[in-house]
Symmetry: C2
Subunit: 85 residues, 2 copies
């Protein structure tokens, strides 16, 4: 389990979510389209979420988490050492 | 930090969120109205969320988390030993 880092001031939940989804998707070698397919969502929706440009709902956070094989809380947890993208 | 429990099969992210908000609000001795005021939301909205009846957005999850003094991820983490409400 990656060590959890204290929240980085000024980094929104949207940005934490965006970073985690992008990183996990990359680790799986999936395109945005592949993740969208697995989660039952549209590719452009995934693209917006990964830019923190969408006020995503809890049900869709859960769909994406299931598709990536993690818990929804994991996607909202700050895993990076720094706040940088 | 309360020990994190493995997710309970069949319990949705909405239900985990509802339980955590209700418990934390109770620990603070706050009414739904008081939490709604602190989070800048409406009491009926809090009531729906606490019944897992609202597909709440990430921005509002963050508002409620800040009001309760926890991280958004904490609200989506299963803290109860059993899945029972």
């Amino acid at each position: 389990m990656t060590p959890q880092h204290p929240p980085v001031p000024g980094v929104s939940a949207r940005q934490v979510l965006a970073r985690n989804i992008k990183r996990l998707r990359g680790e799986k070698g999936w395109s945005q389209e592949a993740l969208a397919f697995e989660a039952g969502l549209h590719r452009t929706f995934i693209a917006h979420v990964e830019r923190a440009g969408r006020n995503i709902s809890i049900d869709n956070i859960e769909r994406i988490a299931r598709a990536l094989g993690v818990e929804p809380a994991y996607l909202l947890t700050c895993h990076g050492a720094s706040g940088a993208t």
